[in-house]
């Protein structure tokens, strides 16, 4: 239970960064932290006390003690998607910097023809 609550606090740190910060880089950092906490939460759900890695090492090995492999399979793809999405956001942020010469989101809302 403590692990879940700590994981939620990590999520809240990221959410705080997104809601309060005015620097685009800080907002991207908040998104990264939220993504990490969600990945960690999925893996925590699949863990079993005294579990072992879900990889067979011999033909007659019993799978009774293995941890749940489905959250791991889902998160494996989600991590790579997260990297690609981070790259997309960074590209857009760099483009914004090129146009407005700042990362401040208050300056960006101003119209500039």
């Amino acid at each position: 239970m403590t692990e879940y609550i700590l994981c939620l606090i990590l999520f809240c740190v990221g959410l705080y960064a997104i809601m309060i910060k005015r620097n685009l880089i800080k907002i991207i950092i908040g998104l990264c932290i939220m993504e990490y906490s969600v990945n960690l939460f999925f893996t925590l759900i699949g863990y079993k006390h005294g579990g072992i890695v879900p990889i067979f090492s011999s033909l007659d090995e019993t799978p009774a003690r293995m941890v749940d492999p489905i959250p791991q399979a889902l998160i494996l793809t989600a991590i790579v998607i997260g990297l690609a999405v981070t790259c997309l956001i960074v590209a857009i942020a760099l483009k914004i910097y090129e146009k407005y010469k700042t990362y401040d989101i208050r300056e960006i809302t101003r119209l500039k023809g």
Partner: protein
């Protein structure tokens, strides 16, 4: 970069690429797989670019070649999926031979061998091509953006 970085890069970049290929090919036996191996392969080229500058890395693999390889990976993955339709359903493991009594399932190769598990190593290779080439293309595009930007005076120092 300095001479030290360049010399060490010259020795390590091949080993990193080799390790990525190992991770991909053994994805069905050990931890790893197409995603991790693809990112490691992309990182080896990024390493080359960081140490020697953009032109050297682009000479090894240009942006257009990265785009072609990514498309090739996607098409290979889809092709494997559609070849399953010849004997079963989408993504059917078509290297599997089922006995008539449906009790004995055989593959080309035993379990725990390198050539086993039917289509899974092939899918790993396809995903490695896709992820590695895609991430490298993204990185090259981002460096281009920084070179073209007005405030980018300090980018890509050799």
């Amino acid at each position: 970069m300095t001479l030290i970085v360049k010399t060490i890069t010259r020795y390590t970049v091949g080993l990193i690429l080799l390790f990525g290929i190992y991770i991909v090919l053994h994805g069905h036996l050990t931890p790893g797989g197409g995603f991790a191996g693809g990112v490691i392969v992309a990182l080896s080229f990024v390493h080359l670019m960081l140490a020697f500058g953009r032109e050297t890395a682009i000479k090894k693999m240009s942006e257009k070649a990265a785009g072609i390889l990514e498309g090739l990976g996607a098409i290979m993955f889809l092709l494997i999926a559609f070849m399953g339709l010849t004997t079963g359903y989408f993504f059917y493991n078509f290297f599997r031979r089922v006995d008539t009594t449906e009790t004995l399932v055989e593959y080309i190769g035993r379990p725990f061998a390198l050539f086993s598990a039917g289509i899974i190593p092939l899918c790993n290779i396809a995903i490695c091509l896709k992820v590695g080439a895609g991430l490298f293309a993204i990185f090259v595009a981002l460096t281009f953006l920084k070179m073209n930007g007005d405030a980018a005076g300090d980018g890509e120092k050799k």
